[in-house]
Point group: C2
Chain length 191, copies 2
């Protein structure tokens, strides 16, 4: 029998980036067009097209059952209108696959929802090990003043379903209101 060789990917602790990543995904505002609740603020900010987040994929596990993928995500601090920068968000194509988020630094939320629109938000700072149970769509949001970095570990055969989020949006959003972070209903959500 031939065995896959063990390996190590090293995280740069200062930056939160994996060295020698398998893939880097870079998402500017234009890649998230239409997802923020304040369309006017979004259009205005598109002129600058800020970098919203980056994913440093250490390894994607050959996509085979039993293997794991892992990556870090860096969400930069900022807002579109009063809504904090976030990741696109997705469900897993294989809905029964869970995911673990371990926060390296910064502050934010793991925002989740079921296909029926039930919402759950887990607060994360360094040391938080937040569990995405099977079937929950998930997005992460930087509600802090610095970059928000977390390690994600997931079954390599989980896959992605971005369509449901792109079509319906998230039921709830995280906004700044009088200097405080609030979870409120998304006026653009299409249940």
């Amino acid at each position: 029998m031939t065995y896959k060789a063990p390996f190590t990917k090293w995280l740069e602790l200062d930056s939160g980036k994996f060295k020698d990543p398998a893939l880097i995904q870079t998402r500017h505002l234009s890649d998230l067009k239409g997802l923020f609740s304040d369309s006017e603020a979004e259009t205005s900010l598109l002129k600058d097209n800020p970098l919203i987040y980056e994913v440093y994929l250490a390894y994607d596990g050959d996509f085979q059952e039993g293997q794991l993928g892992y990556s870090t995500t860096l969400i930069y601090p900022g807002k579109v209108g009063n809504e904090y920068f976030f990741t696109k968000g997705h469900y897993h194509a294989k809905g029964d696959r869970a995911e673990l988020y371990y926060c390296i630094k910064g502050e934010g939320y793991l925002l989740m929802q079921t296909p029926e629109g039930e919402v759950n938000a887990q607060h994360m700072t360094a040391g938080a090990g937040a569990y995405v149970p099977p079937y929950w769509g998930h997005r992460t949001v930087n509600t802090g003043k610095d970059v928000f970095v977390f390690l994600a570990v997931y079954p390599a055969d989980a896959g992605y379903d971005y369509g449901s989020i792109a079509e319906k949006g998230f039921a709830s959003i995280l906004v700044e209101n009088n200097g405080k972070t609030e979870l409120v209903e998304n006026p653009k959500y299409r249940a």
Copy 2:
């Protein structure tokens, strides 16, 4: 449909222990009796029966396919003779299940071997994301002067096979030789 509720387990960054763990496993030398290569040194040290390692199991994922388990392991610094403190080590009962080790602090090795006795050792310090591919037995070893702490994430249905290691031992061991860490053949290995 009923969905499992999301949750967060918090790691105490100073200690490396998960707060409110699902389970704590505590392993003293007497729990690893016969596994160290220097039987005389082991017998002598058994009078003190030092704490070798602890596992803080944050969550075990209901053991269902698609879910994940996660934990931190704290291996204390020390040696039995010239061999560094280690974990028992195991294969996964479902051999095709991988595992990810992310080092929080300290220094050590992820020591692996195939059922045929091929050996691989990955050096770990803070920031190392070491991958245990399917079918590799794995043990961790503290070769540093402080506690060695890492986060482990694994498919919840991986299971454990401790019997193979208990029966044959590991083909290689990590020892201190003139102040240096060396990977050498295990005189007690039964191939």
